[in-house]
Amino acid sequence: MKDAQATPLIDRRAFATGAGALALLAGSAGRLSAQATEPAWQQALKSLVGDVKPLEGKVTLELPEIAENGNTVPLTVSVESPMTANDYVKAIHVIATENPQPGVATFRFSPLSGKASAASRMRLARTQEVIGLAELSDGKFLIGRRSVKVTIGGCGG
């Protein structure tokens, strides 16, 4: 996946993602060895879903196609759901695949939410794909993806 030109970036990023991965994986020692081969965002995703394959295309991510300023990119995530006590969206996790720390936020809903939708503003370090992973009350997972072109990266580094 990574070409030779990207190599100088990897060390810096691997170092930075270590902290994020640790936070997300609660320091599972076994996973640290996998870090060298697997991008941090995949580890973040796996730590949430385990071996379950999420259903594609059911999470809507509203993000600009081109973000001029990666420091503050408006984001809305939503999932169609009846939001009743027996059938509701428990959480939507937002993962930025190319950020130094891929985990961005987890929005947690309740049946009182009425609608599984939340909005915020996020940082995007560079052009990348953003993932929305929804966790349903019956234990199923849904996933949605959206690419954003970033003109000026926003991790302040």
Binding site: A16, A19, G20, A23, N71, T72, V73, M83, V94, A96, N99, P100, Q101, P102, G103, V104, A105, T106, F107, R108, F109, S110, L112, S113, G114, K115, S117, A118, A119, S120, R121, M122, R123, G154, C155, G156, G157
Partner: protein
């Protein structure tokens, strides 16, 4: 932490779906940046937000450094009846801001 801003509809009826918008000033320092001397600026973010209504949980958010400075959050609630919101923002280190606002239910 500064006083947050919360926007609610002026009035709502039981059963209405309302949007709640919140904003708080905060640097959301990522812990990845360096100062001019090359020292890492320590992480300082709001890492948790919660909203409850009449004692019932409505919405929570776990935030990471990937959320922009002055974190904005909006979400929904199906109005169960009259009551008061309680919003809580928690910073790294445990500092908290709590805001209580009554919803005008007609």
């Amino acid at each position: 932490m500064n006083k947050p801003r919360v926007k609610l509809p002026e009035a709502a009826k039981p059963g209405d779906l309302i949007e709640i918008k919140t904003l708080i000033s905060h640097v959301m320092e990522t812990g990845q940046r360096k100062d001019p001397d090359g020292k890492t600026i320590p992480r300082n973010i709001i890492n948790f937000f919660s909203a409850s209504f009449a004692g019932e949980e409505v919405f929570k958010a776990d935030l990471q450094p990937g959320i922009s400075a002055n974190p904005y959050l909006s979400f929904f609630m199906k109005v169960p009846g009259p009551g008061e919101f309680e919003f809580t923002w928690v910073e790294d280190g445990g500092n908290k801001v709590v805001e209580r606002i009554k919803l005008n239910v007609t």
